[in-house]
Subunit: 345 residues, 4 copies
Amino acid sequence: MDFRSDNVTGAHPKMIEALMGANQGTVSSYGEDPISERVTRKLSQIFETDCAVFPVATGSAANVLALSTMTPPWGAIFCHEASHIAVDECGAPEFFTGGAKLINLGGAGGKIEAKEIEAQGGAGKGVVHHVQPAAVSITQATELGAVYRQEEIAAIGQACKRHGLRYHMDGARFANALVALNRSPADLTWRAGVEALSFGATKNGALGVEAVILFDKTMAQEFEFRRKRGGHLFSKMRFLSAQLEAYLEGDLWLANARHANAMAKRLAEGLARLPGATLELEVEANEIFVRLPEAAIVGLERDGFRFNRWDGAQLLRLVTAWNTQAQAVDAFLAAAKRLLAANAA
Amino acid sequence: MDFRSDNVTGAHPKMIEALMGANQGTVSSYGEDPISERVTRKLSQIFETDCAVFPVATGSAANVLALSTMTPPWGAIFCHEASHIAVDECGAPEFFTGGAKLINLGGAGGKIEAKEIEAQGGAGKGVVHHVQPAAVSITQATELGAVYRQEEIAAIGQACKRHGLRYHMDGARFANALVALNRSPADLTWRAGVEALSFGATKNGALGVEAVILFDKTMAQEFEFRRKRGGHLFSKMRFLSAQLEAYLEGDLWLANARHANAMAKRLAEGLARLPGATLELEVEANEIFVRLPEAAIVGLERDGFRFNRWDGAQLLRLVTAWNTQAQAVDAFLAAAKRLLAANAA
Amino acid sequence: MDFRSDNVTGAHPKMIEALMGANQGTVSSYGEDPISERVTRKLSQIFETDCAVFPVATGSAANVLALSTMTPPWGAIFCHEASHIAVDECGAPEFFTGGAKLINLGGAGGKIEAKEIEAQGGAGKGVVHHVQPAAVSITQATELGAVYRQEEIAAIGQACKRHGLRYHMDGARFANALVALNRSPADLTWRAGVEALSFGATKNGALGVEAVILFDKTMAQEFEFRRKRGGHLFSKMRFLSAQLEAYLEGDLWLANARHANAMAKRLAEGLARLPGATLELEVEANEIFVRLPEAAIVGLERDGFRFNRWDGAQLLRLVTAWNTQAQAVDAFLAAAKRLLAANAA
Amino acid sequence: MDFRSDNVTGAHPKMIEALMGANQGTVSSYGEDPISERVTRKLSQIFETDCAVFPVATGSAANVLALSTMTPPWGAIFCHEASHIAVDECGAPEFFTGGAKLINLGGAGGKIEAKEIEAQGGAGKGVVHHVQPAAVSITQATELGAVYRQEEIAAIGQACKRHGLRYHMDGARFANALVALNRSPADLTWRAGVEALSFGATKNGALGVEAVILFDKTMAQEFEFRRKRGGHLFSKMRFLSAQLEAYLEGDLWLANARHANAMAKRLAEGLARLPGATLELEVEANEIFVRLPEAAIVGLERDGFRFNRWDGAQLLRLVTAWNTQAQAVDAFLAAAKRLLAANAA
């Protein structure tokens, strides 16, 4: 009963079946295999546009390879102050870009606002003393479990256009966001101006694979050099692509995400009913932020539940995943109810 | 019947079984799982020393993360002019080190010689105008299929010591070299002065995993930041470590390498008997370099055999792998015999 | 009558005399000349400690060469959000460090506070996902014309020590700060924990020279490689050193700074007496920030006075320099008085 | 009597006069001053084309800022193995380009040959495993004192064009080469395909200034960001530009170079007449490479003559400069004659 993250889970069995299926005969290395080609075609169908697709193995790799293709070393990248690229990648964006600067923005729920980009997106443009606004990166769903609406994505896209900025989406939890909204993948990305997407699969059931999807294919050649040079080009690429194929096959990705979101909703609704528990943020995808008394937290830990204390205090982050069981959720809620009652007494 | 490379092959079935075995329950991410710990212990036993072990997914990543930990940006890295880091990594070593310079050395069979390091290893030391000798990287087995003897490795190690240079071994085909020599892993590495080893598994039966083994553990902390920052730290690390565990279990790695080498020997001996075929280099591991008349090459291609023309001409590189079948070797030999005879007529 | 910056001024005549004096015979290049040696000795006397001295030609070069020697690529550098390194160097610190991250802090008058370093200086230490606190950089005098007191510098120094952080001072206007305080150069730097100082001369009467002073000489060797590699090692170094020698000779640097500060005080006191003018910040060195009505600003511009609008609005930055004339100050005050009166009418 | 280098000399008196002349009143910083504008116009006249001109203070800065604008991080730069960028800049080109690779070529007298660029200029183009041919850099005059003829420069230019390579000239001693040939500056640069020139002045009489001249002005904007970010943008730019203005005024640069070359010729002709002295390379500009017996070398050193032993042995490099006196040359010749005779006896 582990709610620490969606990356503590294993892989969906179909992923490993797919690896077995891909393990036949010899094929050309480095992505010139039939599975990789099929994945590109499939994603082009799903996103309703001809796009360039590059599998990599980690979300950080996806983000920083994309961003380094989108900004010069003297560029500025606007992002949320709680975003993965700003906080959790040990400066990988700065390393891969050759020293670009991340401009941290605020915003409720981990979402930046278009008006901020409107206001700051042209700052210092052409003045040699200052880094040059170059790109915007948003996270869908955010690190805080919120989901950008289509019109929010598009408004930021328009601000990017006005200021000549590149537009990147970190979609480590793109599937969770997608199923939370009644919109198509195209509507939530390139039709709203997004030019590159880190399309996550690892957290949603893969062993370890993400696809960088470039909607603006003029960036593809540079991206390929950067991927190779970053040590991120796999010789036996078929084993990355096979995971992506299984992920998309029969809409497994959507089913996994729907399940994770449903478990989050079940957990959130249960917590909302408990006196002494306070949900800090609306639950839109698969993350719950809940504030509990210290005694209850300690009790839950003693009972074997695992989760992260956000910022080290009484605010917990609970993450559900593609394989979270309803009974685990219910067990957590029962334990919390019992502990909160004891605490109140 | 594909002899292009040992990376066009799939994975040994035990690798995928191991992934299935690892796919149980939740575990801590980023390498703090029990499988990763077991792999470190196992490699410490095999190498008879307490070492730091970091799984990564590509050989380039292993090499450049190690080298960037071993040389400052103003350092010089001595390597063979045909080495993977010099030729096949699109400048990844320069990128990860922050601009160090690779000094290309010659040497038969892709092997550099200790006397070169003796002679050049102190060049410009302390003079601010020149890059500073910092590290040596050798490849075992080499890109040309040769194998460094223990005394050769140790002689280079002594030269490194004399000049204060770090010592790295690119062991993408370490297993193939090991089984070709009657020496222990320890004898061929740290006892001969090697401080960091890129321990390859991908080419020898894994889906995609290499271990960076640091015999000098003082480099471990910096390495960890560099791995993360390079986007090479896997959240679901268990799936890399599981491959390594299966690779080592029951000496699968040695069996795979012995098979590949035996097939190379079978192929080389067969070719040596064919008039019109000239082996260019002694075959010590799993690579054969053979010169054939153009007509025979075209005939082999027409018959469906696949291989690389080395430098685009009549010198072929044939690579055998853990799963090369004797009948594929024999079929190649039969076809070559027939085509050479026809050509001679 | 130009108050835009202290870098729009020329050089003190003694500087050019010194160049003439240095222009005799041949001397060894790259800093191995007698003048450079004398400058090192002289600065060691002035700072009462044996220090390493490296002349460079720009303030940005001084800052980023020092900082890149003080932080690893995955390091974090704490600085004020208005500091030169954060705002005015086009990302040079990120470039030279190989992608370190600047953490912007607030603080009145452009000064950061020790308690911020105490609080944040250990954040994420040892956790591979986050950049690692590595250094603190303060600006003396600040971009906003404020001056750190000795005890403020020392308090930050203690916080650095507690968290194992390197400590840098951007002293582009060090002389102006020094003469504003009744303390020795040693008290305001290494005795308070500062390990590296960008000792400015350009803004205070030189043609173009700054000295990087390393109080911790263990950094000297790395610094030398970085300076060379940055293209900042001058062959005819005597011409940089000669400026520094003239700067220090007979305390010219202190006299110049005293004059600039006195002119700033005259200007500030005059403005304080004018109804309609609001001094935004206390004037401690040679910068004045004053808010005026738009009509008065336009009038001053029409009258030929030059200055910068801070953030493009009605807040003006006026900078005095080593050669600002009292009559220029008085003329500005007279014009401002007249225009404010007209505006009020 | 110092023949070590042309950078051990001081500056021409007109340079310092020019600094005095420029030291009037306030002017805009960072190159927006009238002197800088005049220098751009003057160089555009001299080179008979509208070009972008950027003063910097060192030759390394000029070279690496230009090259980093001309090649991507995954690019390869072809140069001579004895060139300054390859040997004497401590890896600055690798640093500024973000890790590009220098491909060392041979060639008599330090000159690379067009046929090498023809042969290698397309190697690996488009193949993601290899660095991508991006630029060629030649040195005029070379480190070995040779001078490229117009047709040699143009032939390399054509090879660049064929392969889509950028073309850079390191002209630290451009004036010495120019006066050795009966051609115009335009003929020897952009008309022969050169797109960027490091136009040296420091070795030929300045205190410290070089101009990067971009004949392809589309590179200018990127160059400006790189210059600032490299710490190479001077606030009091007038003092760099004033040197350049004096350098060009009344063809001082040509007179200085003619003098240095004449002194080299006098020295070379004298040495050619001495039995026991062997000129290793034809003397075309201001460098002489002469082989002498050890006893004579020691004797010359004892007599107070200074020079460099090339590669530490009996091959001497003697460099003449704008202010080398004929009597110093004659004294050297007389001493050499005497010592050689004694040695032969």
